[in-house]
Amino acid sequence: MAFTLTINGQSRNVEVEGDTPLLWVLRDALNMVGTKFGCGAAQCGACTVHLDGVPVRACVTPVRRVGTKAVTTIEGVGSDPVGARVQEAWKTIDVPQCGYCQAGQIMAATALLTAKPRPTDADIDAAMNGNLCRCATYNRIRSAIKAASGQEV
């Protein structure tokens, strides 16, 4: 089936089965490999993207359900000022170890800071608990979120 998606502000046409998860549409049909495959079951958050600004797990989001919602991925989140601040904090605080989960972490953190510009520790816990980091960079993720929101690290 043909689908027209709006991804990072651009209109993209793809020809895939309607049950294909958005993750594989991005990665295999569009060669946008920044969104990562970790579990395929919405358990790790590595595939987190935004649909109209709301974080979702692309690995369990069939493309036919995306409709006209604006898709934002790690490749495009930097054009949003909040996303850019989060990326900058991630770099300077040196959050990544292996880095594989960090696209999903950044997407989750950007959604959090957009909704709550100065999140409490409890807000951060709630927003980030669905995103696994196998290297366990959690201490630095917390610091980076605080830094990106102008709070004391």
Partner: protein, 727 residues
């Protein structure tokens, strides 16, 4: 690990040549055994350092990057001695060629101890060549010239030549003996010892292609590979038609495979135009697997057999000092305990994957791998090609933890791509990854200790039940009989009995130590409490006077003074002895592994539902006199501590009917954000060469946690994971 330890002694060979497009190429040549002749051919050489006319310095990162930061840290060593501004440095992953680059594997926390000296000399040689070129230009002796980042300066301090202006002349000069060069005084370091974010961070945070899964080739197809749930079972029969009927599936075929659990195993490959399609094709298959003797294996049966063995005389003596039976008979107090830990999976967040493309009988491979040179050999042997016809490109790895020291997924990708007749990316599902790992072996330890009337440890007897047959252990199931308190207690006996195992096992972060550290440091805690002594004071007494317990430089050369140093520091950081709330406890443990010393204190309590809550962790670390990159170093310690907390709380791999039960993160849970405590890290500097940090902070963490929970609840955890034992 012995073979690994032997490699730092290799001689250095250095050569230079003119770089394409101008610039200095400095090759740092460490020929692998048997490949020296090949290495001597200039056509085989590649560069470590390239300097462009504009002064941009490109440095090759030789080791696999798995999240341990060596892609940044090793170039830092070169840049320091070369004397360049770090902002001018670009980093490239080196091609996989041990003949040119020496060891490129990542494991055993060995990159730092192996590279510390030779890698700095690579930079020093390049700098010496640039100085020599300036000396020639000015007609001055080289000895008086100095450098500042990126420039050579004359003795009067008046004339300056940028490196970019000197490279072409420098590349034509004879290469000095690297051993004859004086390395920089650490007091003058500008780069080493300063925190440097990882060089790949800009690409990571913007989602640029870096990992194995990000490889894209023209005409590339995607594959899944369905293997038997029972390790090594073969395909008895399968109808491929339902898979081939799925739109987009290009091929489906049986791979005969072999019987070696670390080689190409039998299975069914489905190749399609997207991975989702390949997966659909696979789900349409009904495979009948052959009966396999390993289908009788189960965790329950193994535990029963281990308990029988524990009641019998041990099969082998691993280490014996003094007379443990006499000492136990004369002890004022005898304490006994049995400990058990489970199989564990690595669960790298990037599932195993590999991309392969064949052309004219040669294969090109893109792989996230920790030991790519081993993979080249495995591919060559299995597919019947010359090792020279296997080219491997290392991608960044989405986690390693020892999993990618094995190259099973690499040989699968090479085989499937050849049969598919197109470049193919093999991707394992999460369930494939969990159920076809090389597991940290389970184990059972039966301990007996004797204390004298003054509470001194006088006898230590340990009967370990591990996996193997005869004198051989299965991979990573070796019983290391040098583990503390061996050699610190007069009467010591370490024995072992083994069970056969037909499950693939492998190295997981701090192999052996990740289990032994928990068992022995937990039992030492039991002894402290049994004799009414403070756990820190008891450990200090056991460590005794500062002394080395093994041979200098040896893997087992525990220095009791360094151990005491981290023990005291961790206790101080955590405020050991302070009053804590009722139901909260502090626990401590200290362990030596991978040449590093780490003591961890954990503060923990138990929630109303019985869930352990870790409030905070403190880690004191002695890995020598110099921390190479403090940012990465802190990360490795924090990551190791939190990794170990996660596995201790909830992780286990269960075998039933010869197959692994767990499949995804729902039943193999990693530590999550909200339960991760802050981890405070301090480095205790000691006058020893720097050593690695990927592993040594793991082993003391599980016992520190269980000791804290004992202090909090009075309940001793002797079986891992903790799970709901405190509910």
């Amino acid at each position: 690990m012995d073979k690994r330890l032997a490699s730092p002694s290799r001689r250095l060979f250095l050569q230079t040549s003119a770089a394409v497009g101008g610039g200095l190429l400095l090759s740092f040549n460490l020929p692998a055994a048997g490949r020296a002749a090949e290495a001597a051919a200039p056509s085989r050489l590649n560069a470590f350092v390239r300097i462009a006319r504009d002064g941009t310095v490109t440095i090759a990162a030789k080791r696999a990057e798995i999240g341990q930061g060596m892609k940044t840290t090793l170039p830092m060593l070169i840049a320091e001695e070369l004397d360049v501004d770090w902002a001018q440095v670009r980093i490239e992953q080196a091609p996989v060629d041990n003949a040119v680059y020496g060891d490129q594997w990542a494991g055993g926390s060995m990159s730092t101890p192996q590279e510390w000296e030779p890698t700095r000399r690579v930079g020093a040689v390049a700098r010496a060549l640039l100085i020599a070129a300036a000396a020639q230009r000015w007609g001055l002796p080289a000895a008086g010239l100095v450098t500042e980042p990126g420039v050579v300066i004359d003795p009067a301090g008046k004339r300056r030549l940028a490196y970019g202006e000197l490279v072409e002349a420098a590349a034509k000069l004879p290469v000095p003996d690297p051993q004859a060069l004086t390395l920089k005084d650490p007091a003058r370091y500008r780069i080493i010892g300063k925190a440097h974010p990882q060089s790949d961070n800009p690409a990571i945070v913007t989602g640029q292609p870096l990992y194995g899964l990000d490889v894209r080739l023209p005409g590339m197809l995607y594959a899944t590979f369905l293997k038997a749930p029972v390790f090594g079972a073969r395909v008895d029969r399968v109808d491929l038609a339902p898979a081939l009927a799925v739109k987009g599936v290009r091929a489906a075929f049986v791979v005969e495979g072999g019987t070696a659990l670390d080689g190409l195993l039998p299975g069914v490959a489905v190749v399609a135009d997207s991975w989702w399609t390949a997966r659909k094709g696979r789900q349409a298959l009904e495979v009948v697997w052959t009966d396999h003797p390993a289908s009788g294996q189960s965790s329950v049966a193994m535990a029963a057999r281990a308990a029988e063995l524990a009641r019998q005389a041990p099969q082998r003596v691993m280490r014996q000092e003094g007379n443990v039976e006499t000492a136990l008979a004369g002890a004022a107090k005898v304490v006994e305990a049995a400990y058990h830990y489970p199989f564990l999976a690595h669960a790298t967040l990037e599932p195993q994957n590999c991309t392969a493309a064949w052309k004219d009988g040669k294969v090109e491979i893109w792989a996230p791998a920790q030991d790519p040179e081993e993979g080249r050999g495995l591919v060559a042997r299995t597919l019947g090609v010359a090792p020279g016809d296997v080219t491997i490109h290392l991608t960044r790895s989405g986690g390693g933890f020892g999993r990618r020291l094995m190259n099973d997924y690499m040989v699968e990708a090479a085989w499937i791509a050849r049969q598919a007749g197109a470049p193919t990316q093999l991707i394992w599902s999460r369930e494939d990854d969990t159920r076809h790992d090389f597991y940290r072996p389970a184990g059972w330890h039966n301990l007996t200790a004797g204390l004298d009337a003054q509470g001194a440890l006088v006898a230590w007897r340990s009967h370990a039940v591990s996996f193997g047959e005869g004198d051989k252990f299965v991979r990573a199931a070796e019983v290391d009989a040098s583990q503390f308190p061996a050699r610190a207690v007069a009467n010591h006996l370490q024995t072992v009995s083994t069970l056969p195992l037909a499950v693939p096992t492998g190295w997981l972060r701090a192999p052996g130590n990740n289990a032994f550290g928990w068992v022995f440091q937990s039992f030492i805690d039991e002894l402290a409490h049994a004799s009414g002594q403070d756990p820190v004071a008891f450990r200090r007494r056991l460590l005794g006077e500062p002394r080395a317990l093994g041979k200098p430089g040896g893997w087992d050369n525990l220095d009791t003074g360094r151990m005491r140093g981290v023990l005291d520091r961790a206790a101080e950081m955590a405020g050991w002895g302070r009053a804590v709330a009722k139901g909260t406890g502090l626990g401590i443990a200290a362990h030596f592994s991978h040449l590093g010393y780490v003591a961890v204190v954990i503060e923990a309590s138990v929630g109303d539902d019985g869930t352990p809550v870790v409030h905070k962790a403190w880690a004191a670390v002695d890995v020598g006199r110099q921390i190479l990159n403090p940012s990465g170093a802190e990360q490795q310690v924090q990551g190791s501590v939190l990794d170990a907390i996660g596995s201790t709380l909830r992780q286990k791999i269960t075998l039933e009917n010869g197959a692994v039960v767990e499949g995804n993160f729902g039943d193999y849970p990693l530590l999550r954000f909200a339960e991760a405590p802050p981890v405070e890290v301090a480095f205790v500097l000691s006058d020893h060469p720097p050593t690695g940090l990927g592993e040594p902070a793991y082993p003391p963490t599980p016992p520190a946690l269980c000791n804290a929970l004992f202090a909090a609840t009075g309940k001793r955890i002797r079986t891992l994971p903790i799970g709901d034992q405190l509910a």
